[in-house]
């Protein structure tokens, strides 16, 4: 029978000196034990003050996301022994999800998460009156948003998001997955308006593409892919004045013309007004050998190959 030490993040706001700390709890347990059941056993057998949100214990209500040895998981569908094996550690450290403020122990203040969810207008806005029966939607069109419809709003992606760590106002992966779910819904009439709403500051182009949201989503929603698809929708709807969109476009132009990236031209195209102010930085970079010697970089030999690649990518979007 395995024995495990659980090192749980504690924050008790009602105590005299509410300072966060970690507390160890030891459990002897069967080989199969989920992280949630471990926490509940600790609650019931050792310390009734340990606070955690949970409900369905079958990975659908989205309540119990937390960090196990640094990695965000749903506590209810994660086996303790698996955490130990994957992290190579005998102690299982349990922390609240990241990018949030703790309320008590593992319970965090989810307010910003719900506010951002609401900010993407997460509801269908159809055009014209509804028909008598259901709207007819091709199976394939409905399946296009099936992945995003699986999002359980557990905030595991939000917890892992590096853009949010840098910019707390960033809308975040889950809300954008929902944004895509509506923008790409055939029945919705607001594709262009949504593209505008999701661009701009803290919008889709501010994603750093670290891919952690895709990796850590417990339901396979792939929020980063949704963000990328929202980028495509922005282009299709000609919502391209955004700095982020211009940056993407600059990449494309550069690839098309020379078959490779031309950093010197990308910066001014992305931000024609701001770029001159960055000239001193560019100069320093050039002195340190961090920039190509000439803005007219040589062209790659097999440019047809590159064009083919661009065409392929376009077709898959």
């Amino acid at each position: 029978m395995p024995a495990t030490t659980f090192r749980i993040f504690r924050y008790q706001p009602d105590s005299n000196e509410p300072e966060p700390f970690h507390q160890d709890f030891d459990l002897d347990h069967e080989e199969k034990l989920t992280l949630l059941d471990a926490i509940l056993r600790i609650q019931n057998e050792q310390d009734g003050t340990v606070a955690v949100r949970y409900s369905c214990r079958s990975a659908i209500c989205g309540s119990c996301a937390c960090k196990a040895n640094g990695k965000t998981v749903l506590a209810c569908m994660t086996q303790v022994e698996q955490v130990k094996a994957e992290s190579g550690e005998d102690v299982v450290r349990i922390d609240p999800i990241g990018n949030f403020t703790p309320i008590k122990d593992l319970v965090v203040d989810m307010t910003p998460f719900w506010e951002k969810f609401k900010a993407v207008k997460p509801f269908l806005i159809p055009d014209g009156p509804a028909p008598e029966k259901e709207r007819l939607v091709p199976k394939a069109a409905m399946e296009k948003i099936a992945n995003e419809s699986k999002c359980i709003l557990c905030a595991a992606c939000y917890s892992e998001c590096n853009s949010l760590a840098a910019d707390p106002e960033f809308v975040g992966p889950a809300a954008f997955a929902w944004g895509y779910r509506f923008a790409a819904d055939e029945r919705d009439s607001q594709r262009k308006n949504r593209a505008k709403l999701y661009s701009g500051e803290h919008g889709v182009w501010d994603c750093t593409r670290c891919m952690f949201c895709n990796e850590r989503c417990p339901k396979g929603v792939d929020p980063r892919d949704a963000i990328e698809k929202l980028g495509s929708i922005a282009f299709q709807e000609k919502v391209t004045s955004d700095k982020g969109a211009r940056h993407a476009k600059a990449f494309l132009i550069s690839l098309r013309s020379g078959g490779k990236l031309n950093e010197i031209l990308i910066a001014p195209y992305t931000d024609p007004i701001g770029a001159p102010f960055n000239a001193p930085l560019a100069l320093r970079m050039a002195q340190k050998g961090k920039l190509p010697k000439s803005p007219l970089t040589h062209k790659v030999k097999d440019r047809d190959q590159v064009k083919k690649l661009i065409k392929n990518v376009k077709e898959t979007i």
Partner: protein
């Protein structure tokens, strides 16, 4: 004091649908939920929602009504079942118009429908095996659009009545801010879901503790047909997690340890798609007679093939891998019957109104209209939640518009609760809620299960009574104000004890076998003496039973075979 025209307690399918209906009717409605709305257990419903759309084959609401009446083992109210089935298509179209991502037919683009247990036609609309989640989310997005005020993580401790016995609000514990407050209202709609946590294992969430039923019972409102608890035929052995009936609807078969498709013996026509009570009893018999595999039978999906499993049952695969270590593409899933759905609940009429307390409404699993009678058909619970949620919302708004006036909310309601909780928190020595809850769940599982008998039920009753006494000295170890889950679990345990008592008491009295209530000492259905609803009242802590008539329209009771 906070006040609204209507407050809806619980924000799952029934609660949110009620709030939306009340909002559309023009009254000020607010939701109060101990969770966040999207955490509600409606989201765990997998397989689908019934409506005779006739998209796959010719079907009509009459067929749906008949199947439901028969599934209920003739103790459902037939007028209510007609309402359920006739409004069903409208509600599905409404959900679709609000954006629900239903699975579609290949060619027509219409909503696809799959076969389900106890149904004569493929009538179950679905969104892969995430139907509850998709509908829960759809309703939540409408609540967001309408900006319906929502008290999230407010745990209701009391139903508040005025001097004339009208429902005029609730007292609730705001878990985040740590305060106890009264929310006044002209009407209260209860929609807190089921009480599956009376049992273990159970498919239900930890939060499914039947709160509304107990809150109403304690105020003198009777609970109806509490002895009827449905055991779902396919739950995972490790923790009781649900495997959708859709798995059998898509063609999954049940095997015993000899590889025999045993349902051929018990339901030669409908086989695995017989009604749930029939399939659960068949499994329990196979296991009891030694033809099980480690206390389970096997659900075999392998012949469906990878592609169909991935498209139609992706969540089932994920859960079977996570909790049973079994990939259904390669091997059968060990499953067994587990407590799943409670047919009983707060006694209400066809509009969800309590005949015993003006201003009180209830909808969804915490209520009993009754449309499910002694056994609910798969795909009818989500339907009941939206149909009768909508009707309760409409009726509560109409009630408010008719009765107007400022409610006479007792000013000391919150203080009384506060005092009670302070007294509870002051207690230092005694049992904790977890041990009482564990014992309760164990005795209910063992003695009030798929098969029941008089003497064993009496034993269960004694244990429940004893646990209720021990509960009087229960100790809460968390003394804090903020997010005190120990306190909430303790209060919930009190709710569970009330409800278990009603279940056992009703089961002892009902000396027949009907639907999910199957007695080894009274093996036949007894229409002469028991074609009636049980009403359970709490008189000074003792459960008193009364009975009421079943409404029949045109369906005469028949022998029930599948």
């Amino acid at each position: 004091m906070r006040e609204h025209d209507v407050i809806v307690v619980g924000a799952g399918l029934a609660g949110m649908r009620a709030a939306i209906a009340a909002h559309e009717a023009g009254v000020d409605v607010a939701l109060v939920t101990k969770l966040h709305p999207v955490r509600s257990h409606s989201g765990a419903a997998q397989g689908g929602i019934n409506a005779a759309l006739g998209n796959e084959t010719d079907d009509n609401t009459g067929n749906h009504t008949f199947d439901t009446v028969k599934g209920a083992d003739y103790i459902g109210d037939q007028d209510a079942i007609e309402i359920l089935c006739e409004r069903a298509p409208h509600e599905i179209y409404q959900l679709e118009h609000w954006g629900a991502v239903f699975s579609r037919q290949e060619d027509s683009g219409k909503i696809a429908q799959r076969p389900f247990g106890g149904a004569g036609f493929p009538r179950t609309c679905y969104a892969a095996d995430l139907t509850g989640l998709v509908i829960l989310h759809t309703l939540y997005t409408v609540c967001v659009k309408y900006d319906i005020p929502t008290y999230e993580e407010w745990f209701v401790t009391d139903l508040v009545t005025d001097d004339d016995g009208n429902a005029v609000g609730v007292v609730a514990y705001d878990m985040i801010r740590g305060t106890i407050e009264t929310i006044g209202a002209k009407a209260v709609v209860m929609a807190t879901g089921g009480a599956g946590r009376v049992y273990r294992p159970s498919t239900n969430a930890h939060a499914s503790t039947g709160d509304a039923m107990s809150l109403a019972l304690r105020k003198g409102v009777p609970l109806k047909d509490m002895e009827f608890m449905q055991f779902h035929p396919t739950t995972l052995a490790a923790n009781g997690v649900l495997v959708t009936e859709g798995a059998r609807g898509e063609g999954g078969i049940l095997l015993n340890k000899d590889g025999e498709r045993f349902m051929t013996k018990y339901a030669p026509n409908k086989l695995e798609l017989a009604s749930r009570d029939v399939v659960s009893r068949a499994e329990a018999t196979e296991i009891m007679e030694g033809r099980g595999v480690d206390g389970c039978v096997l659900l075999d999906l392998r012949h469906l093939g990878r592609e169909r499993i991935m498209e139609r049952l992706p969540q089932i695969r994920e859960l079977a891998i996570a909790f049973a270590g079994t990939d259904p593409i390669n091997e059968p899933i060990p499953i067994r019957p587990g407590a799943h759905y409670h047919m009983g609940g707060v006694h209400v009429d066809n509009w969800g109104a309590s005949p015993h307390m003006p201003g009180l409404f209830a909808a969804g699993e915490c209520s009993c209209v009754s449309v499910h009678g002694a056994n609910r058909l798969g795909g009818n619970s989500l339907l009941e939640a939206v149909v009768f949620g909508a009707r309760a919302g409409e009726a509560s708004a109409a009630y408010v518009q008719e009765h107007g006036g400022k409610p006479n909310v007792p000013s000391n309601a919150a203080e009384e609760t506060q005092q009670r909780i302070e007294d509870l928190l002051a207690r230092e020595n005694g049992p904790r809620q977890a041990e009482i809850r564990d014992e309760l769940a164990a005795v209910m599982q063992e003695k009030v299960g798929v098969y029941r008998s008089g003497p064993v039920l009496e034993e269960a009753k004694r244990t429940v009574t004893e646990l209720k006494e021990r509960f009087q000295g229960v100790v809460v170890s968390d003394k804090g104000k903020t997010f005190n889950t120990d306190l909430i679990h303790t209060i919930e345990t009190g709710y569970l004890l009330d409800l278990a008592d009603c279940m056992v008491t009703g089961a002892i009295a009902r000396t027949e076998s009907r639907g999910a209530h199957s007695r080894t000492d009274f093996t036949e259905r007894d229409d002469e003496n028991w074609m009636k609803h049980t009403l359970a009242y709490a008189d000074d802590g003792e459960i008193r039973l009364d009975y009421s008539e079943v409404t029949m329209t045109k369906y005469e009771p028949q022998v029930r075979t599948y």
